[in-house]
């Protein structure tokens, strides 16, 4: 059995005990999440600002985004959040195999998200729906359509970068799961990767309606 070769987690030398280690890490994670919320929050408020200033550009440009693809990506992200939470739950139960299965499922769903995003970007490039001076879309009456697509690429690009980082965390968790036995006392890597993925979900839940539905 592979589990017999796994080592138990040991508290890092600069912590007194497991409680101090976990609570310190959790505090750091929440601070990090807070900084991320501030960054994406500013971006979303910027989006609302642009929507208010150029409703014509949003109304005319939004139909060029396929809400079906956005909905599919919403499904991928929400299911990924669910499988990551399950992975953390199985880590608590020492079910190393099920942890890996759920991590791999989450990884595949994240890949699915990026594939859909690539399809969307490809269509935008093909039709010249690009930011600033690169914009050469045809049939637009609004003078500010390029601003919408500028916002679209910045917002979804930054979000996609976070999806990539989340995938990196999942791969890291998979590596840790081959080395260390997760227990009820130590499942921190999977829990924190799951929290990060929930943040990715949370941002998308605002971005999806702002870009694809409201306009």
């Amino acid at each position: 059995m592979a589990s017999t070769t796994l080592q138990e987690h040991e508290v890092a030398h600069h912590f007194d005990d497991l409680e101090q280690e976990f609570e310190s890490q959790k505090f750091g994670m929440w601070l990090f999440m807070a900084s991320e919320i501030m960054m994406f929050g500013a971006l979303l408020v910027g989006g609302l600002f642009l929507l208010y200033l150029h409703p014509d550009a949003f109304a005319e440009s939004r139909p060029h985004l396929d809400w079906r693809l956005g909905a599919l990506n919403t499904f991928f992200l929400l299911t990924g959040g669910f499988t990551m939470a399950r992975a953390a739950g199985f880590a608590q139960q020492r079910e190393q195999g099920k942890v890996r299965t759920n991590l791999i499922l989450s990884l595949l769903l994240a890949c699915g998200f990026l594939v859909v995003k690539t399809i969307e970007y490809k269509a935008k490039f093909h039709h010249g729906l690009l930011p600033g001076h690169a914009f050469h879309g045809e049939g637009f009456t609004s003078l500010h359509a390029h601003i919408f697509f500028g916002y679209y690429f910045v917002a979804t690009g930054l979000h996609a970068l976070h999806v990539l980082i989340g995938m990196g965390l999942m791969i890291w968790c998979l590596k840790v799961s081959k080395r260390v036995q997760f227990t009820r006392d130590y499942y921190t890597p999977v829990e924190f990767a799951g929290m990060y993925w929930a943040l990715v979900d949370l941002v998308w839940v605002f971005l999806f309606p702002l870009l694809y539905l409201v306009g």
């Binding site: 138990e8 809400w67 929290m195 979900d201």
Partner: protein, 139 residues
């Protein structure tokens, strides 16, 4: 490994609750798309801004989803250390203040600064291309 006392980090994950949360999120996502597809234009109501109602419904749906994600998937509901919850939630308070300032700015800048419209109507590439086409000599 010495733990000192019967300390257990975090909360115990309940798969049944997780399943319900996931189902709830999918239903809310479907509802959001339902609001978007709702043909409100056909309703014979002109005393109410139905487009605004539609936007508010979508926004309320998104906020509910965010609450569920933060509460259950991030584990905010089970957070024992209140400081962590305060740190996370205070962000939304700051964002609200930021949003209010932005709204006040948009709403009042025109009254204070007559050049507001000129400043924000950035030159569009579409306009530039149209101008070039108009300026080009006829063949």
């Amino acid at each position: 490994m010495e733990h000192g006392h019967d300390y257990q980090p975090g909360h115990t994950y309940n798969f049944q609750i997780l399943g319900r949360v996931y189902a709830g999120l999918l239903v809310l996502a479907a509802l959001m798309i339902g609001f978007f597809l709702m043909p409100i234009e056909r309703l014979p109501i002109d005393w109410l801004d139905l487009h605004l109602i539609k936007r508010l419904l979508i926004l309320a749906d998104a906020i509910t989803m965010v609450g569920i994600i933060a509460g259950f998937l991030m584990g905010l509901k089970y957070e024992k250390t209140k400081l962590n919850a305060v740190i996370f939630l205070s962000n939304f308070a700051f964002l609200t203040i930021f949003l209010l300032f932005v709204m006040a700015d948009i709403g009042m800048r025109g009254a204070m600064d007559p050049s507001f419209t000129k400043q924000l109507n950035w030159k569009s590439p579409v306009t530039e291309e149209n101008n070039k086409m108009q300026e080009a000599p006829a063949p």
